[in-house]
């Protein structure tokens, strides 16, 4: 049997926030591995540390102690400038509130991360069109975000997250602002990207129905990893 390659290796990861005189422990010596091609749901109540863990993995927060390696790189050791470049090539981020730039068209929003890659305009167009094909919105590329429904906006955000072919797609409550139908579509899309395109996805959710689309769920509470279980289909 082949050994499973861990794309994310977390060891004794601790994150403590200072709020005035009070120290808030958001993550308390968490250790875990995530395999390449996995679809992991991070679950837990508010304040359990699931978003903090996602942010550290995505390189937008830094741990107080411990190690977080993504594809062999110690993320916390990177400088601010290195982190920006690293995020661009390794992380595709999907936000709960979509975070599309309102004055740019769907096409331009998806093209944004590619502007940092040195690809030619024609190459960028080809990548963007391919991403739109994947999310099923090829006919909405010239629309502004306000001309799209919530579900469509989130699909554009997913296209933006995968257009650079990143190592990881991280999604923070991606269905939190969607109606049931749109949420189901978005989750189906993430599941398909994992299943068919082999994308590694880490998704924060507090919704068991959303988590059911993942292959594995990690339960956190008060900054500690309580449960790590395979999802039965």
């Amino acid at each position: 049997m082949l050994a499973v390659i861990a794309i994310v290796q977390i060891r004794e990861l601790t994150r403590i926030y200072q709020q005035g005189d009070i120290k808030v422990v958001a993550l308390d010596r968490v250790s875990l591995d995530i395999a390449r091609g996995d679809f992991v749901a991070l679950m837990g109540p508010s304040g359990s540390g699931k978003s903090t863990l996602l942010h550290i993995i995505a390189g937008i927060d830094r741990p107080t102690a411990g190690s977080c390696r993504v594809d062999g790189i110690e993320v916390a050791a990177l400088s601010e400038t290195e982190l920006a470049g690293w995020r661009n090539s390794h992380i595709g981020f999907v936000f709960q509130t979509f975070n599309l730039i309102p004055v740019l068209t769907a096409f331009e929003n998806v093209e944004m991360p590619l502007l940092l890659t040195g690809l030619s305009a024609a190459e960028r167009r080809a990548h963007v069109e391919a991403a739109f094909e994947l999310v099923g919105l090829a006919d909405r590329m010239d629309h502004l975000p306000r001309q799209l429904s919530g579900g469509q906006e989130q699909r554009v955000a997913i296209a933006r997250a995968l257009v650079t072919d990143p190592t990881l797609i991280v999604a923070d409550e991606p269905t939190g602002n969607l109606d049931a139908k749109s949420a189901s579509d978005v989750l189906g899309l993430l599941e398909a990207l994992n299943r068919d395109a082999g994308k590694t996805i880490i998704m924060v959710t507090h919704d068991p129905k959303a988590a059911a689309h993942a292959r594995r769920t990690l339960h956190l509470e008060k900054g500690e990893l309580l449960k790590d279980e395979e999802v039965r289909r």
Binding site: H55, A58, I60, D61, E80, T81, A84, G85, R87, N88, S89, I91, F93, F95, T97, N99, I101, P102, V103, L104, E108, M112, P113, L115, L116, R160
Partner: protein
């Protein structure tokens, strides 16, 4: 460094169109004032710079800085008329003109308050010494008939200055027999008549200056040496063009006032731009966080917001320049503190001046944008996303 697309800034400005227009108009106003006042100063300067013939020499009493304060007695003047080295015309007449300046008060055509105007008395060669001057209407005055010719600009602005009109000045009544054009020079602010008639009408027993044209450069040097070493005359000689260049200091106070006014106003406009940009950064904090997550560096964010402020300022500058442009070539007049008379001139808006106006606008944009852009770039990613 990969840059955030310009479309992002332009469209963001368009979305916040109310604050954008207010800021653009603020900057436009400052640039328009700056360009207009500088155009006024330039027009005035250029009027003097365009005056005089490079060959002509002007002789003034030593110690005098202006023709109006110089006095040369008739006998002293006439002794130099046939001095060697002075050029002559076909009839053998020397290019020599004894001249005198007096100020008269004339009523304006379109205002209740009149103004002081220069009357230049000149010798028979006065016109020939000024080849850039042409009589466009009527004819040259004839000595002995109390006649005068008036510059086109004075004729357009002052009462009783058209051909056939008469006006009282000194002890005489003068008839306007011609209108002259002097190529936008300082002569455009003068009335010309015969020197001896002017002296008689204003009870002057002296002339103010003499204007001569030497045969050559070498002759010019000789004339300068001869006159300046002549102790009986006690005069100084300077090129006519240099004399008028020196008069450009009239524009100094206007230029200073314009610069001062524009600087004070620009502080207000820069604060307006800063306020607009702070509001932009505040409203787009989450977008800044998103751009950082996508991989854009702090420098790119900084550059983008600074650029946005510069775009705002550039549009303001452009509008300001357009507002000021119709003033180009408009003729007006101002009081000269060197001649104590009305000087007619045209506003001169040059490409260089417009360029300076644009640079001034961009400086306001840069000043207004620096701090907000820095604030945008310094925002921690997570805090920006959570805003």
């Amino acid at each position: 460094m990969p840059a955030i697309p310009l479309a992002y800034n332009v469209r963001s400005l368009r979305v916040r169109w109310r604050t954008t227009i207010a800021t653009v108009l603020g900057i436009a106003l400052v640039v328009a004032v700056f360009v207009m006042v500088m155009a006024l100063a330039r027009g005035l300067k250029s009027t003097y710079i365009q005056t005089g013939d490079p060959m002509n020499l002007l002789v003034l009493r030593r110690g005098s800085t202006a023709e109006s304060s110089s006095q040369i007695m008739r006998e002293e003047m006439m002794r130099r008329k046939y001095m060697p080295g002075i050029a002559r015309d076909e009839q053998g007449r020397p290019f020599f003109s004894p001249e005198i300046i007096v100020l008269i008060y004339l009523n304006r055509i379109d205002a209740e308050v009149g103004g002081n105007v220069i009357v230049r008395g000149m010798g028979e060669m006065g016109l020939a010494l000024r080849p850039n001057v042409t009589i466009s209407e009527g004819r040259m005055f004839e000595p002995g008939r109390r006649e005068c010719i008036v510059s086109r600009r004075l004729s357009d602005r002052f009462a009783n200055c058209r051909v056939g009109d008469r006006f009282q000045a000194g002890k005489a009544e003068w008839t306007v027999v011609g209108i002259f054009e002097a190529g936008k020079s300082a002569y455009e602010s003068e009335i010309w008549a015969d020197a001896d008639e002017v002296r008689a009408a204003f009870s002057r027993n002296f002339y103010g200056s003499m204007l001569v044209r030497p045969e050559s450069e070498a002759a010019a040097d000789a004339i300068v040496r001869r006159i300046e070493s002549d102790r009986t005359l006690s005069a100084r000689v300077l090129r006519e063009v240099d004399y008028y260049k020196d008069q450009t200091k009239t524009a100094g106070p206007i230029q200073f006032m314009g610069g001062f006014l524009a600087t004070i106003m620009s502080i207000g406009a820069a604060f307006s731009a800063m306020n607009t940009m702070y509001a932009a950064v505040g409203a787009r904090t989450r977008e800044i966080g998103t751009l950082r997550v996508l991989g854009f560096r702090r420098r790119a964010i900084y550059g983008s917001f600074l650029l946005e402020s510069l775009i705002l300022a550039a549009v303001g500058g452009l509008v300001g320049c357009l507002i000021s442009l119709p003033l180009n070539g408009v003729a007006t007049g101002t009081f000269s503190w060197t001649s104590f008379s009305e000087v007619a001139f045209e506003f001169r808006i040059t490409p260089e001046l417009l360029g300076k106006g644009m640079l001034f606008a961009l400086a306001m944009g840069a000043l207004g944008g620096l701090l907000p852009a820095r604030m945008a770039a310094q925002k921690p990613v997570l805090a920006a996303l959570k805003s």
